[in-house]
């Protein structure tokens, strides 16, 4: 994938922003849903607090990485005051570019036998 200058300005991104983008890559979600997805994606290692979440959402909306979704997956089952968020094209490209950047680092760590539990680490 070709990396544009707009994407480059977004990477490297903070862990919180990366986790939120990763969660929203699966589907559009509301705030609490993102918090749960971050917890699950990190195997229970990361607890994202609500302040960090909404602070990051505010900046990501301003940067055009995510947008509010007008649609609600199940309006009947949900509180109407809840806002849903989804990735923009820029957000998808940025998370992809960040994942590729991290992949290079992980490969390097693997080559240095630094990842435990994979048979190549210490």
């Amino acid at each position: 994938m070709k990396t544009t200058s707009n994407q480059i300005s977004k990477i490297p991104m903070t862990p919180a922003v990366f986790q939120i983008l990763l969660a929203l890559s699966e589907q559009e979600m509301h705030g609490y849903g993102i918090m749960k997805a971050v917890h699950q994606n990190s195997n229970g290692q990361v607890h994202m607090g609500p302040g960090t979440l909404y602070g990051s959402i505010k900046r990501m909306l301003a940067d055009g990485l995510i947008e509010e979704s007008g649609e609600r997956p199940d309006p009947g089952l949900d509180d109407e005051r809840r806002r849903y968020y989804r990735l923009t094209d820029l957000g998808r490209k940025a998370v992809s570019a960040e994942a590729a950047r991290m992949d290079i680092l992980v490969r390097k760590a693997q080559s240095l036998h630094l990842i435990p539990g994979t048979g190549r680490g210490s």
């Binding site: 607090g49 960090t52 909404y54 505010k58 806002r83």
Partner: protein, 203 residues
């Protein structure tokens, strides 16, 4: 007993978390307060699998420290944004504070016989160059007027007075708090200086 303790801890944590949310900047609260509140309520509703003590533990360990940090971060961001947006106002405020200090100390020295060095001499030396002397005089007379312009500029709004756009009206948008006090004080000082200059010319 432990249930009562858990309930008490949970209530305290919720109260503190809501108070911390209210401590965030107004703009942030307008956008996200109801959502943050809803996250807290959802946490209480679905987190009950781990019991009241479990939810309270989560709130004390994760949620409250996180809200403290985000409050500081958002307050700092707000301050930084304001500084970028209104740097002219900050220069104006600095100018009028300097002027009040300079004139106040000079008057206190003359009328109250305070044992301090003349602020004018302290600023430009005992035998000042012409440009320094003129600059200080210029600052004494025009400092507050420039400060007034800088302070009021962000609140001045030009708008067309009629449908046809025949008249341009200058409106002062709602100024509140410390800015209002500063603008009024600076305006009064500017009027006083203009009055003194006019009287001086007439005599």
């Amino acid at each position: 007993m432990s249930t009562t303790l858990g309930s008490r801890q949970l209530n305290r944590a919720i109260t503190l978390a809501r108070w911390l949310i209210r401590c965030h900047p107004r703009e942030f609260r307008q956008q996200y307060e109801s959502e943050l509140d809803q996250v807290l309520r959802t946490l209480m509703r679905f987190g009950m699998d781990s019991g009241k003590a479990g939810v309270a533990n989560y709130l004390w360990r994760i949620c409250i420290p996180d809200l403290c940090l985000s409050m500081i971060r958002e307050r700092f961001n707000e301050w930084e944004e304001n500084m970028k947006r209104n740097y002219g106002s900050w220069i104006g405020a600095g100018l009028i504070v300097l002027w009040i200090l300079y004139v106040g100390l000079s008057l206190a020295r003359i009328f109250l016989h305070l044992p301090i060095k003349d602020p004018g001499n302290w600023l430009i030396g005992d035998t000042p160059a012409n440009w320094a002397y003129n600059s200080l005089n210029w600052f004494t007379i025009f400092g507050p007027i420039i400060a007034l312009i800088l302070l009021a500029a962000p609140y001045i709004k030009f708008s067309k007075g009629s449908e046809n756009g025949e008249m341009a009206v200058i409106r002062l948008r709602n100024v509140a708090g410390a800015s209002r006090v500063l603008i009024i004080v600076t305006g009064l000082i500017s009027l006083m200086i203009l009055f003194i200059v006019l009287i001086g010319r007439m005599l």
